[in-house]
Symmetry: C2
Subunit: 201 residues, 2 copies
Protein backbone atom coordinates (compact mmCIF):
# COMPACT_ATOMS: atom_id res chain seq x y z
CA UNK A 1 0.00 0.00 0.00
CA UNK A 2 -0.98 2.53 -0.89
CA UNK A 3 -2.42 5.28 -3.07
CA UNK A 4 -3.36 7.81 -0.39
CA UNK A 5 -1.88 8.70 3.02
CA UNK A 6 -5.29 9.86 4.25
CA UNK A 7 -7.00 6.60 3.28
CA UNK A 8 -4.15 4.77 5.05
CA UNK A 9 -4.78 6.78 8.21
CA UNK A 10 -8.49 5.93 7.98
CA UNK A 11 -7.68 2.21 7.67
CA UNK A 12 -5.40 2.50 10.67
CA UNK A 13 -7.99 4.35 12.81
CA UNK A 14 -10.78 1.89 12.05
CA UNK A 15 -8.71 -0.74 13.86
CA UNK A 16 -9.72 0.80 17.22
CA UNK A 17 -13.10 -0.86 16.70
CA UNK A 18 -13.26 -4.29 18.36
CA UNK A 19 -13.04 -7.22 15.95
CA UNK A 20 -11.85 -5.07 13.03
CA UNK A 21 -8.67 -6.37 11.36
CA UNK A 22 -6.86 -4.98 8.30
CA UNK A 23 -9.17 -6.64 5.75
CA UNK A 24 -12.37 -5.52 7.48
CA UNK A 25 -11.00 -1.99 7.93
CA UNK A 26 -10.30 -1.84 4.19
CA UNK A 27 -13.78 -3.09 3.34
CA UNK A 28 -15.33 -0.50 5.68
CA UNK A 29 -13.24 2.43 4.43
CA UNK A 30 -13.83 1.67 0.76
CA UNK A 31 -17.54 1.10 1.38
CA UNK A 32 -17.89 4.54 2.98
CA UNK A 33 -15.71 6.32 0.40
CA UNK A 34 -17.21 4.61 -2.65
CA UNK A 35 -20.81 4.03 -1.68
CA UNK A 36 -22.00 5.87 1.41
CA UNK A 37 -20.25 9.17 2.13
CA UNK A 38 -23.40 10.67 3.62
CA UNK A 39 -23.85 7.78 6.07
CA UNK A 40 -20.17 7.96 6.93
CA UNK A 41 -20.32 11.70 7.60
CA UNK A 42 -23.30 11.18 9.87
CA UNK A 43 -21.46 8.39 11.71
CA UNK A 44 -18.33 10.52 12.19
CA UNK A 45 -20.42 13.41 13.49
CA UNK A 46 -22.48 11.36 15.95
CA UNK A 47 -19.41 9.43 17.11
CA UNK A 48 -17.58 12.67 17.94
CA UNK A 49 -20.66 14.08 19.65
CA UNK A 50 -21.30 10.93 21.72
CA UNK A 51 -17.66 10.65 22.83
CA UNK A 52 -17.79 14.28 23.91
CA UNK A 53 -21.23 14.42 25.51
CA UNK A 54 -21.93 10.99 26.99
CA UNK A 55 -21.00 10.72 30.64
CA UNK A 56 -22.40 8.75 33.55
CA UNK A 57 -25.86 8.86 35.07
CA UNK A 58 -25.61 10.46 38.49
CA UNK A 59 -27.99 7.92 39.94
CA UNK A 60 -27.13 4.55 38.32
CA UNK A 61 -23.79 5.32 36.62
CA UNK A 62 -24.85 4.00 33.21
CA UNK A 63 -23.88 5.91 30.07
CA UNK A 64 -25.97 8.98 29.31
CA UNK A 65 -25.62 12.52 27.95
CA UNK A 66 -28.03 13.83 30.61
CA UNK A 67 -27.74 14.07 34.38
CA UNK A 68 -30.10 11.15 34.73
CA UNK A 69 -30.54 8.32 32.21
CA UNK A 70 -33.90 7.46 30.67
CA UNK A 71 -34.41 4.53 33.04
CA UNK A 72 -33.71 6.60 36.14
CA UNK A 73 -36.11 9.28 34.90
CA UNK A 74 -38.86 6.76 34.13
CA UNK A 75 -41.80 6.71 36.52
CA UNK A 76 -42.75 3.20 35.50
CA UNK A 77 -39.86 1.35 37.16
CA UNK A 78 -40.16 -0.46 40.48
CA UNK A 79 -38.37 1.73 43.05
CA UNK A 80 -37.89 -1.16 45.46
CA UNK A 81 -35.57 -3.30 43.31
CA UNK A 82 -31.95 -2.46 42.53
CA UNK A 83 -29.93 -4.63 40.17
CA UNK A 84 -26.12 -4.26 40.38
CA UNK A 85 -24.28 -5.04 37.12
CA UNK A 86 -20.69 -4.73 35.96
CA UNK A 87 -21.35 -2.86 32.70
CA UNK A 88 -23.92 -0.98 30.61
CA UNK A 89 -23.79 -3.96 28.22
CA UNK A 90 -25.08 -6.24 31.00
CA UNK A 91 -27.81 -3.72 31.74
CA UNK A 92 -28.83 -3.73 28.07
CA UNK A 93 -28.84 -7.53 27.97
CA UNK A 94 -31.19 -7.66 30.97
CA UNK A 95 -33.45 -4.96 29.47
CA UNK A 96 -33.58 -6.84 26.17
CA UNK A 97 -34.43 -10.08 27.96
CA UNK A 98 -37.42 -8.25 29.42
CA UNK A 99 -39.23 -9.05 32.65
CA UNK A 100 -37.14 -6.99 35.08
CA UNK A 101 -38.79 -3.68 35.92
CA UNK A 102 -36.59 -2.31 38.72
CA UNK A 103 -33.61 0.06 38.96
CA UNK A 104 -29.95 -0.51 38.14
CA UNK A 105 -26.52 0.35 39.45
CA UNK A 106 -23.52 0.02 37.13
CA UNK A 107 -20.08 -0.71 38.59
CA UNK A 108 -18.07 -0.26 35.35
CA UNK A 109 -15.85 -3.19 36.28
CA UNK A 110 -15.22 -5.44 39.24
CA UNK A 111 -12.89 -5.48 42.22
CA UNK A 112 -9.38 -6.44 41.18
CA UNK A 113 -6.80 -5.79 43.90
CA UNK A 114 -3.91 -6.92 41.66
CA UNK A 115 -4.84 -4.23 39.12
CA UNK A 116 -5.34 -1.70 41.88
CA UNK A 117 -9.10 -1.56 41.39
CA UNK A 118 -10.69 -1.04 44.78
CA UNK A 119 -14.22 -0.33 46.10
CA UNK A 120 -14.23 3.39 45.25
CA UNK A 121 -13.13 2.66 41.65
CA UNK A 122 -16.34 0.73 41.06
CA UNK A 123 -18.51 3.32 42.79
CA UNK A 124 -19.33 1.41 45.98
CA UNK A 125 -19.37 4.65 48.01
CA UNK A 126 -21.96 5.95 45.55
CA UNK A 127 -23.91 2.68 45.84
CA UNK A 128 -23.96 3.07 49.61
CA UNK A 129 -25.26 6.64 49.29
CA UNK A 130 -27.91 5.44 46.86
CA UNK A 131 -29.11 2.79 49.34
CA UNK A 132 -29.06 5.29 52.20
CA UNK A 133 -31.65 7.35 50.34
CA UNK A 134 -34.09 4.59 51.23
CA UNK A 135 -36.83 3.02 49.13
CA UNK A 136 -34.81 0.03 47.94
CA UNK A 137 -35.93 -3.25 49.49
CA UNK A 138 -33.98 -5.79 47.46
CA UNK A 139 -30.52 -5.68 45.89
CA UNK A 140 -29.95 -8.18 43.08
CA UNK A 141 -26.24 -8.87 42.64
CA UNK A 142 -25.97 -9.55 38.90
CA UNK A 143 -22.20 -9.38 38.50
CA UNK A 144 -20.65 -11.80 36.02
CA UNK A 145 -20.43 -15.46 37.06
CA UNK A 146 -16.62 -15.24 37.00
CA UNK A 147 -14.14 -15.39 39.87
CA UNK A 148 -13.86 -11.58 39.94
CA UNK A 149 -17.60 -11.03 39.56
CA UNK A 150 -18.36 -13.46 42.39
CA UNK A 151 -15.75 -11.86 44.63
CA UNK A 152 -17.23 -8.44 43.95
CA UNK A 153 -20.75 -9.68 44.77
CA UNK A 154 -19.47 -11.19 48.02
CA UNK A 155 -17.74 -7.95 48.96
CA UNK A 156 -20.91 -5.92 48.39
CA UNK A 157 -22.97 -8.47 50.31
CA UNK A 158 -20.58 -8.18 53.25
CA UNK A 159 -20.84 -4.39 53.21
CA UNK A 160 -24.60 -4.68 53.43
CA UNK A 161 -24.63 -7.12 56.34
CA UNK A 162 -26.85 -5.76 59.07
CA UNK A 163 -28.99 -3.64 56.78
CA UNK A 164 -32.59 -4.71 56.32
CA UNK A 165 -32.09 -5.08 52.56
CA UNK A 166 -32.95 -8.38 50.94
CA UNK A 167 -29.96 -9.63 48.86
CA UNK A 168 -30.27 -11.97 45.91
CA UNK A 169 -28.23 -13.15 42.96
CA UNK A 170 -29.18 -14.50 39.53
CA UNK A 171 -30.00 -18.22 39.52
CA UNK A 172 -27.21 -20.32 38.08
CA UNK A 173 -28.21 -23.11 35.77
CA UNK A 174 -28.24 -24.56 32.30
CA UNK A 175 -29.11 -21.96 29.65
CA UNK A 176 -32.60 -22.25 28.14
CA UNK A 177 -32.57 -23.88 24.73
CA UNK A 178 -29.01 -25.09 25.19
CA UNK A 179 -27.95 -28.69 24.88
CA UNK A 180 -26.79 -30.35 28.06
CA UNK A 181 -23.73 -31.94 26.48
CA UNK A 182 -22.32 -28.53 25.55
CA UNK A 183 -22.80 -26.96 28.98
CA UNK A 184 -19.54 -26.61 30.90
CA UNK A 185 -19.00 -28.74 33.98
CA UNK A 186 -19.00 -25.89 36.49
CA UNK A 187 -22.39 -24.64 35.31
CA UNK A 188 -23.78 -28.16 35.22
CA UNK A 189 -22.73 -28.97 38.75
CA UNK A 190 -24.10 -25.62 39.97
CA UNK A 191 -27.39 -26.43 38.24
CA UNK A 192 -27.41 -29.82 39.93
CA UNK A 193 -26.85 -28.45 43.41
CA UNK A 194 -29.48 -25.81 42.86
CA UNK A 195 -32.09 -28.22 41.52
CA UNK A 196 -35.73 -27.41 42.21
CA UNK A 197 -38.82 -29.49 42.88
CA UNK A 198 -40.40 -30.55 39.59
CA UNK A 199 -43.86 -29.05 39.48
CA UNK A 200 -44.62 -29.75 35.84
CA UNK A 201 -45.28 -26.05 35.18
CA UNK B 1 -33.60 -0.07 24.96
CA UNK B 2 -32.43 2.27 26.09
CA UNK B 3 -30.77 4.59 28.59
CA UNK B 4 -29.59 7.36 26.25
CA UNK B 5 -30.95 8.80 22.99
CA UNK B 6 -27.42 9.79 21.91
CA UNK B 7 -26.04 6.28 22.46
CA UNK B 8 -29.03 4.97 20.50
CA UNK B 9 -28.18 7.29 17.62
CA UNK B 10 -24.58 6.07 17.72
CA UNK B 11 -25.73 2.43 17.57
CA UNK B 12 -27.95 3.31 14.63
CA UNK B 13 -25.19 5.15 12.74
CA UNK B 14 -22.64 2.37 13.19
CA UNK B 15 -24.94 0.19 11.08
CA UNK B 16 -23.77 2.03 7.93
CA UNK B 17 -20.55 0.00 8.24
CA UNK B 18 -20.70 -3.18 6.15
CA UNK B 19 -21.21 -6.35 8.20
CA UNK B 20 -22.22 -4.48 11.35
CA UNK B 21 -25.52 -5.68 12.86
CA UNK B 22 -27.21 -4.53 16.08
CA UNK B 23 -25.11 -6.72 18.37
CA UNK B 24 -21.78 -5.68 16.81
CA UNK B 25 -22.82 -2.01 16.80
CA UNK B 26 -23.52 -2.28 20.53
CA UNK B 27 -20.18 -3.92 21.19
CA UNK B 28 -18.37 -1.21 19.21
CA UNK B 29 -20.20 1.72 20.83
CA UNK B 30 -19.70 0.44 24.37
CA UNK B 31 -16.05 -0.35 23.68
CA UNK B 32 -15.38 3.20 22.51
CA UNK B 33 -17.40 4.84 25.29
CA UNK B 34 -16.09 2.64 28.10
CA UNK B 35 -12.54 1.88 27.06
CA UNK B 36 -11.17 3.98 24.20
CA UNK B 37 -12.61 7.48 23.90
CA UNK B 38 -9.34 8.86 22.60
CA UNK B 39 -9.12 6.27 19.80
CA UNK B 40 -12.77 6.87 18.97
CA UNK B 41 -12.27 10.63 18.77
CA UNK B 42 -9.33 10.14 16.43
CA UNK B 43 -11.41 7.77 14.28
CA UNK B 44 -14.34 10.23 14.08
CA UNK B 45 -11.98 13.04 13.13
CA UNK B 46 -10.11 11.14 10.42
CA UNK B 47 -13.33 9.64 9.05
CA UNK B 48 -14.86 13.11 8.64
CA UNK B 49 -11.64 14.44 7.09
CA UNK B 50 -11.28 11.53 4.66
CA UNK B 51 -14.92 11.71 3.54
CA UNK B 52 -14.47 15.42 2.91
CA UNK B 53 -11.03 15.45 1.31
CA UNK B 54 -10.64 12.18 -0.57
CA UNK B 55 -11.60 12.46 -4.22
CA UNK B 56 -10.39 10.76 -7.37
CA UNK B 57 -6.93 10.75 -8.93
CA UNK B 58 -7.06 12.78 -12.13
CA UNK B 59 -4.93 10.22 -13.91
CA UNK B 60 -6.08 6.76 -12.70
CA UNK B 61 -9.33 7.61 -10.87
CA UNK B 62 -8.41 5.80 -7.68
CA UNK B 63 -9.17 7.38 -4.30
CA UNK B 64 -6.81 10.13 -3.19
CA UNK B 65 -6.84 13.48 -1.40
CA UNK B 66 -4.32 14.89 -3.93
CA UNK B 67 -4.59 15.63 -7.64
CA UNK B 68 -2.52 12.57 -8.38
CA UNK B 69 -2.32 9.43 -6.24
CA UNK B 70 0.95 8.08 -4.86
CA UNK B 71 1.17 5.42 -7.59
CA UNK B 72 0.66 7.92 -10.40
CA UNK B 73 3.31 10.19 -8.90
CA UNK B 74 5.80 7.36 -8.49
CA UNK B 75 8.69 7.33 -10.94
CA UNK B 76 9.30 3.64 -10.39
CA UNK B 77 6.26 2.27 -12.20
CA UNK B 78 6.37 0.86 -15.72
CA UNK B 79 4.77 3.49 -17.99
CA UNK B 80 4.00 0.95 -20.71
CA UNK B 81 1.52 -1.19 -18.77
CA UNK B 82 -1.99 -0.11 -17.83
CA UNK B 83 -4.19 -2.34 -15.70
CA UNK B 84 -7.92 -1.61 -15.80
CA UNK B 85 -9.81 -2.57 -12.62
CA UNK B 86 -13.35 -2.10 -11.36
CA UNK B 87 -12.49 -0.68 -7.93
CA UNK B 88 -9.75 0.70 -5.67
CA UNK B 89 -10.15 -2.49 -3.61
CA UNK B 90 -9.09 -4.55 -6.67
CA UNK B 91 -6.12 -2.24 -7.17
CA UNK B 92 -5.10 -2.74 -3.53
CA UNK B 93 -5.45 -6.51 -3.83
CA UNK B 94 -3.15 -6.51 -6.88
CA UNK B 95 -0.62 -4.24 -5.15
CA UNK B 96 -0.64 -6.45 -2.08
CA UNK B 97 -0.13 -9.56 -4.20
CA UNK B 98 3.02 -7.86 -5.55
CA UNK B 99 4.71 -8.46 -8.89
CA UNK B 100 2.83 -5.96 -11.03
CA UNK B 101 4.74 -2.72 -11.54
CA UNK B 102 2.66 -0.85 -14.11
CA UNK B 103 -0.06 1.79 -14.02
CA UNK B 104 -3.77 1.48 -13.21
CA UNK B 105 -7.09 2.79 -14.34
CA UNK B 106 -10.10 2.46 -12.02
CA UNK B 107 -13.60 2.20 -13.51
CA UNK B 108 -15.53 2.47 -10.20
CA UNK B 109 -18.00 -0.12 -11.44
CA UNK B 110 -18.86 -1.97 -14.61
CA UNK B 111 -21.22 -1.46 -17.53
CA UNK B 112 -24.79 -2.24 -16.53
CA UNK B 113 -27.33 -1.07 -19.11
CA UNK B 114 -30.27 -2.18 -16.95
CA UNK B 115 -29.10 0.13 -14.15
CA UNK B 116 -28.42 2.91 -16.62
CA UNK B 117 -24.63 2.66 -16.19
CA UNK B 118 -23.03 3.43 -19.54
CA UNK B 119 -19.46 3.97 -20.82
CA UNK B 120 -19.11 7.54 -19.55
CA UNK B 121 -20.25 6.50 -16.05
CA UNK B 122 -17.22 4.24 -15.73
CA UNK B 123 -14.83 6.81 -17.21
CA UNK B 124 -14.22 5.22 -20.59
CA UNK B 125 -13.88 8.65 -22.24
CA UNK B 126 -11.17 9.42 -19.71
CA UNK B 127 -9.53 6.04 -20.38
CA UNK B 128 -9.48 6.87 -24.09
CA UNK B 129 -7.86 10.24 -23.40
CA UNK B 130 -5.33 8.52 -21.15
CA UNK B 131 -4.39 6.09 -23.93
CA UNK B 132 -4.24 8.91 -26.52
CA UNK B 133 -1.45 10.49 -24.48
CA UNK B 134 0.72 7.65 -25.73
CA UNK B 135 3.33 5.61 -23.86
CA UNK B 136 1.05 2.70 -22.97
CA UNK B 137 1.84 -0.47 -24.92
CA UNK B 138 -0.33 -3.03 -23.14
CA UNK B 139 -3.73 -2.77 -21.52
CA UNK B 140 -4.52 -5.50 -18.99
CA UNK B 141 -8.26 -5.91 -18.57
CA UNK B 142 -8.55 -6.97 -14.92
CA UNK B 143 -12.28 -6.52 -14.43
CA UNK B 144 -14.01 -9.02 -12.16
CA UNK B 145 -14.53 -12.54 -13.58
CA UNK B 146 -18.30 -12.03 -13.45
CA UNK B 147 -20.80 -11.65 -16.28
CA UNK B 148 -20.76 -7.83 -15.95
CA UNK B 149 -17.00 -7.64 -15.59
CA UNK B 150 -16.46 -9.80 -18.68
CA UNK B 151 -18.95 -7.76 -20.66
CA UNK B 152 -17.18 -4.57 -19.65
CA UNK B 153 -13.80 -6.01 -20.69
CA UNK B 154 -15.26 -7.01 -24.04
CA UNK B 155 -16.70 -3.56 -24.57
CA UNK B 156 -13.35 -1.89 -23.84
CA UNK B 157 -11.57 -4.39 -26.10
CA UNK B 158 -13.95 -3.55 -28.93
CA UNK B 159 -13.35 0.19 -28.46
CA UNK B 160 -9.62 -0.41 -28.79
CA UNK B 161 -9.86 -2.52 -31.93
CA UNK B 162 -7.53 -1.08 -34.55
CA UNK B 163 -5.17 0.57 -32.06
CA UNK B 164 -1.68 -0.85 -31.81
CA UNK B 165 -2.18 -1.60 -28.11
CA UNK B 166 -1.62 -5.12 -26.88
CA UNK B 167 -4.69 -6.28 -24.91
CA UNK B 168 -4.57 -8.96 -22.26
CA UNK B 169 -6.69 -10.30 -19.46
CA UNK B 170 -5.82 -12.06 -16.20
CA UNK B 171 -5.25 -15.79 -16.57
CA UNK B 172 -7.98 -17.87 -15.09
CA UNK B 173 -6.99 -19.40 -11.93
CA UNK B 174 -9.10 -16.69 -10.42
CA UNK B 175 -12.39 -18.45 -9.67
CA UNK B 176 -15.25 -17.62 -12.03
CA UNK B 177 -18.06 -15.69 -10.39
CA UNK B 178 -15.79 -14.55 -7.55
CA UNK B 179 -14.79 -11.03 -6.69
CA UNK B 180 -11.19 -10.02 -7.22
CA UNK B 181 -10.70 -8.32 -3.88
CA UNK B 182 -11.26 -11.60 -2.02
CA UNK B 183 -8.82 -13.68 -4.09
CA UNK B 184 -5.65 -14.67 -2.22
CA UNK B 185 -2.38 -13.02 -3.20
CA UNK B 186 -0.67 -16.11 -4.56
CA UNK B 187 -3.49 -16.93 -6.97
CA UNK B 188 -3.72 -13.32 -8.00
CA UNK B 189 -0.02 -12.94 -8.69
CA UNK B 190 0.10 -16.20 -10.68
CA UNK B 191 -2.91 -15.06 -12.68
CA UNK B 192 -1.05 -11.86 -13.42
CA UNK B 193 2.04 -13.59 -14.70
CA UNK B 194 -0.06 -15.95 -16.80
CA UNK B 195 -2.13 -13.20 -18.42
CA UNK B 196 -3.26 -13.95 -21.97
CA UNK B 197 -3.86 -11.91 -25.14
CA UNK B 198 -7.40 -10.58 -25.10
CA UNK B 199 -9.12 -12.08 -28.13
CA UNK B 200 -12.69 -11.15 -27.32
CA UNK B 201 -13.75 -14.80 -27.15
ZN1 LIG C 1 -29.54 6.08 35.48
ZN1 LIG D 1 -3.53 7.72 -9.76
Amino acid sequence: MSFSPLVDRLLESLRVLPGVGPKTAQRMALHLLERDREGGRRLAHIMAEALEEVGYCQRCRTLTEEELCLLCRSTRRDERLLCVVESPADMLAIEEAGGYQGQYFVLHGHLSPLDGIGPEDIGLDQLEARLDEGGIEEVILATNPTVEGEATAHYIAMQLTGSRLRLSRLAYGVPMGGELEYVDGGTLSRAFNGRLPFTGE
